[in-house]
Amino acid sequence: MFDSPELIIEYLISPVFLNAAWLTLVITVVSMTCAMIIGLFIALLQETNWPFVNGFVTVYLWLFRGTPVLFQIIFIFNVLPVFGILLSGFLSGVIALALNEGAYMAEIYRSGIQSVGRGQRTAGKSLGMKEWQVMRYVVIPQALRVVIPPTGNQFLGMLKLSALVSVIAVEELLLVANQTASANFRYLEALTAAGIYYLTMTTVFMFIQARIEQWVGARQGAVAKPRTWTQRLLGMTSNAGA
């Protein structure tokens, strides 16, 4: 399949690919960080009972989960300028991704918060804590366990989703791979190089996730299922050897 495998290595170490990979990473991390803050905020707002706020939250969740993020990117990039708001491609992309992802994260947090038994909240309240303190010190720490795996999913998803900002000419990894390939038609080499970058970043994210899970698990005195990432990899090795 590969006409010139050495091209892959050439691409891997080329500044264009490196820059693009770095940009992809930055977009992912920045968007996800904002999305996590937005999501938490929205999830907490959902806990209140103010109709106005709830209406706002509903519309937000509906619109941003309801339309493709591609549209949201194009909209922020191309339509806002009509109203005099001219944001750079990078900024437009990050804002769109963060707002979109925030709506998804809000649902994940909601499920996490729901997973904490009502008795735990009651106990917190009975000790004189305010609602937000109960949230902050009792509910959220316990919700963490449930929230981490889907959040990890979203992180990995965002790594790939960020490729959509290529629609507004931000030179992230996949666009660079496609640009390179469309000039010389060496698609497999260019895509493989990009794929290696993606896989590397994913691996790092998965590793971080496993560490966080381990840490949260340890703090909660969990004994069951202590399958660490390393152990998993060991399992993998034994498989490879089989």
Binding site: G119, Q120, K125, S126, L127, G128, Q133, P141, Q142, Q220
Partner: protein, 254 residues
């Protein structure tokens, strides 16, 4: 400890419940409850399973919305306080029937959390206090253990220590000795008596009659959401009581 006469309205009434009604759907759980708890006194609440004892305690701690009636604390009407409920709860601690320890915190952290976050006690001080309280309930070695790894009785004692740590004016105990052995019951009783002597007000739901006889200033007997009997401890056990109360007391095995 002397049993004082009950009923005179005055500054000595810490908690006063009047005409309280509470339902879950069509189920009337509390009906027209009147109850007075004087400062520094211990009221013991008994009654068959499902009679509404836990629900009454929860109402006093503003953890349930009530349909009708008034609850005053220290002279202040609190039944319909929603925004300020957390202020009242600082002064009325509660020990839950199923403990409800915070699952993500160790025994010591369970005890330290509220003093630190609600009262702003510095961490070190809170930690010292927690160890002191764990010592009091005889499990100093379980400070760093998580609730899942504690035995039933150990969990119950952490729950009691957690309530005490807030230095409340009153404590509502929901069967505080149910998971304890006779030795431990005595220890906990001693702690409660000591607190009572220091001016603590308590409402205790318990099925331990021997415990009630020793610790209570006043007895309340509930059945099917109604208060059937409410009188001083001596009278309750040795004086004239209603037929239903007598029947209940007679069931007690010795």
């Amino acid at each position: 400890m002397t049993a004082e006469l009950q009923g005179g309205a005055g500054p000595k009434e810490l908690i006063r419940v009047r005409g309280l009604h509470k339902s879950f759907g069509s189920l009337k759980v509390l009906q027209d409850i009147d109850m007075t708890v004087e400062t520094g006194k211990t009221v013991v609440l008994i009654g068959p399973s499902g009679s509404g004892k836990s629900t009454l305690l929860r109402c006093m701690n503003l953890l349930e919305t009530i349909e009708q009636g008034s609850i005053t604390f220290d002279g202040q009407e609190i039944a319909n306080l929603t925004q300020q409920a957390h202020r009242i709860r600082r002064d009325i601690a509660m020990v839950f029937q199923n403990f409800e320890l915070f699952k993500h915190l160790s025994a010591a952290e369970n005890i330290m959390l509220a003093p630190m976050k609600v009262k702003g006690v510095p961490r070190l001080e809170a930690h010292d206090r927690a160890l002191e309280l764990l010592e009091k309930v005889k499990i100093p070695d379980k400070a760093d253990t998580y609730p899942e790894q504690l035995s039933g009785g150990q969990q119950q004692r952490v729950a009691i220590a957690r309530a005490l740590a807030m230095d409340p004016k009153a404590i509502l105990y929901d069967e505080p000795t149910s998971a304890l052995d006779p030795e431990m019951i005595r220890e906990v009783l001693d702690v409660m008596l000591e607190l009572s002597n220091a001016g603590m007000t308590s409402v205790v739901v318990t099925h331990e009659m021997s415990f009630a006889r020793r610790a209570a200033d006043h007895m309340v007997f509930m059945d099917k959401g109604l208060i059937v009997e409410s009188c001083a401890t001596d009278q309750f056990f040795d004086g004239e009581v209603s037929a239903r109360t007598k029947q209940f007391l007679d069931q007690i095995l010795h």
